[in-house]
Assembly symmetry: C2
DNA sequence: TTGAAAGCGCTAACAC
DNA sequence: GTGTTAGCGCTTTCAA
């Protein structure tokens, strides 16, 4: 266990094993053309000295940087962190991304970028120049920001677009928003609901309309009207309040509502309570996201889980293994409906 | 806006400005011995070409790596992420750490390390060799793991120890656990409580006993007994359940309980409800941590906020500015008592 | 199958 | 003040 003050380099290993630097390099990178005996000898020296290649040096000499950049919207992310309302998007990204990356000897670094900024390009460009990541994971709304995707494509950096279906450079991935909305709707249909309201999310996110489309289609297939049953919010709590009020003020009021985010659905729950409606007796609720908070409301919300960790894990894999191009796109990772206490049969009077 | 396929290097800038590489380097690093006119000219080229130095190259040539490593306990962190119970420790670290780091041109990278593992040293050593971070932020229980602090010291890497008071290498930092417990106790005292129970955290964390000490001292100063009023948990929900049952089974039952974590305090709330006690009418509760979930219980919990973001931000600053050594240690960043709905005067009968 | 040489982009040390 | 030289630790030629 030689432990030098300065960390051990490839030279030390080469000297110890009595081979050239090149051979050590080949062993590190699992390259062919190394005789087993040689390989073993070198590996022994590596283990003995506790040698670990310097990523900076590897990157310098034109090889990989072993870095994946996960990019999130700055404003939104900081707002979430500051509000401390229980959103765990970033944690789930880390859970899926970091762990998968590290299995492959990579690291994942979070980077915050302003979408609305005029200088997204400069901001992101600087990060790319400084870090030279081997891959980038884009989350909504960046996934569909052509300034960003364009820059990445131009620089020849592999990237995944979470929440995007469009063809084009980068690996498109979705969490099956359409199918999830269908599943939620179908669940309510099976319980006997016919007036199922829907609170859509911000138009800035394509997935908002995929969810809406899934609900609409399923309603249509069941021969049911959607007419005035959809209201648009912006994913936030306040917009949910407004949307819920609108829906619950309808003459033929919905007996169930699907909210496109936990915040909006929780807001709906609050409005329901305000109006003396009991959930799920008078009103069934299904939420999208399944962030921690849905477990703490009363009743606990039935929700569509967003498989963020799984999706990011898959993205990182595709980025690292470099077979993202061969895979059929969009890559879809489906979430599931987690049934809790906010859904039941509609009131019998209806 | 020259935009090359390959990113622009220091050479391009030097050529464009008609100066030597070194001069450009000096400008980048804000070094002296560059005439203002020269500096301006170089800066103009930098801006024009959109040049950003490659961190890998900077690191290679013996300068900084512009990287701060934030190390968390692997097992605990993954458990938290998987449980999705609303803990936001990592988010708060990122909020404080990432943002502060980026203000200084640094990045913060999260790294998960097993404390209990026999090969902490190898694991951490590998990360250090690969990344060569300029600084490391240690969180409990790593902060007091001498294998870890020893390795860091040996390698000459600056580090901060959050939740540690001991002298020794690295910057010791606390969130004033003792003072916070005092504040919580005092708040209850002022409301008129005299039987104040305390649920301590795992002994593996020194801060558990600092909190306990703060409570004990304050109780003592008020001439009050602590005798059977302290039960130890492990920060987790189940241990809180057990501790609360023990405390509430006491003959002279406490009218208030301070829990050393949100999970344990929430468990206490549940036990109270089980036993038909109303909070805060029959029992007051104060929690430690102030993670998102305390906002979603009924009643909302009064809690001592752990100023994680602030603390990590300060740690990163001290690490980057390299004046951590001159600062008085331990560096303490105080949290505050956030009064919500779980504290009131004790039942009048008492 | 192995090794030697060159160079990645940058900065330290030294000259000028 | 500014430029030159060397070299960081590694991988990519290319030669043996």
């Amino acid at each position: 266990m030689a432990r030098r003050r300065q960390s051990v380099t490839i030279k030390h290993v080469a000297a110890d094993a009595g081979v050239s630097l090149q051979t050590v390099s080949r062993v590190i990178n699992n390259e062919p053309n190394v005789r087993p005996a040689m390989k073993e000898r070198v590996q022994a020296s590596i283990d003995k000295l506790g040698y670990v290649p310097s990523i900076a040096a590897q990157r310098m000499s034109g090889s990989r940087s072993y870095l994946i950049l996960a990019i999130n919207d700055r404003e939104r992310t900081i707002a979430d962190w500051t509000a401390r309302q229980g959103g765990d998007w970033v944690d789930q990204m880390l859970l899926g991304g970091m762990l998968t990356a590290s299995e492959h000897g990579y690291r994942m670094l979070i980077e915050l970028v302003d979408t609305h900024d005029d200088h997204v390009e400069r901001e992101l460009g600087a990060a790319l120049s400084a870090l030279h990541p081997d891959g980038v994971v884009l989350t909504p709304p960046h996934s569909e920001n052509s300034q960003i995707t364009g820059l990445l494509a131009e620089r020849g950096i592999r990237f995944a677009r979470i929440g995007s279906k469009e063809p084009g450079p980068g690996i498109a991935m979705t969490m099956d928003d359409d199918g999830a909305a269908e599943e939620a709707t179908r669940h309510l249909l099976e319980l006997g609901h016919t007036r199922i309201g829907f609170i859509a999310g911000s138009e800035e996110y394509s997935l908002s309309d995929w969810r809406k489309a899934g609900w609409e289609r399923t309603m249509g297939e069941a021969g049911l009207d959607c007419d005035d049953l959809c209201v648009r919010g912006d994913f936030g709590f306040d917009s949910g309040l407004a949307a819920a009020r609108k829906l619950l003020a309808l003459d033929d009021r919905p007996t169930a509502i699907i909210g496109s985010s936990d915040q909006m659905t929780l807001a709906t729950l609050e409005v329901a309570h305000e109006q003396g409606l009991e959930v799920p007796r008078d009103l069934s609720l299904i939420s999208f996201d399944n962030t921690p908070i849905v477990r703490f409301s009363n009743p606990k919300l039935t929700a569509i889980d967003q498989p963020i960790a799984k999706t990011i894990a898959r993205a990182v894999e595709l980025l690292i293994d470099r077979d993202g191009d061969e895979v059929e796109q969009p890559v879809v990772v489906s979430g599931e409906l987690v049934v809790r206490q906010s859904t039941a049969a509609p009131p019998s009077g209806t």
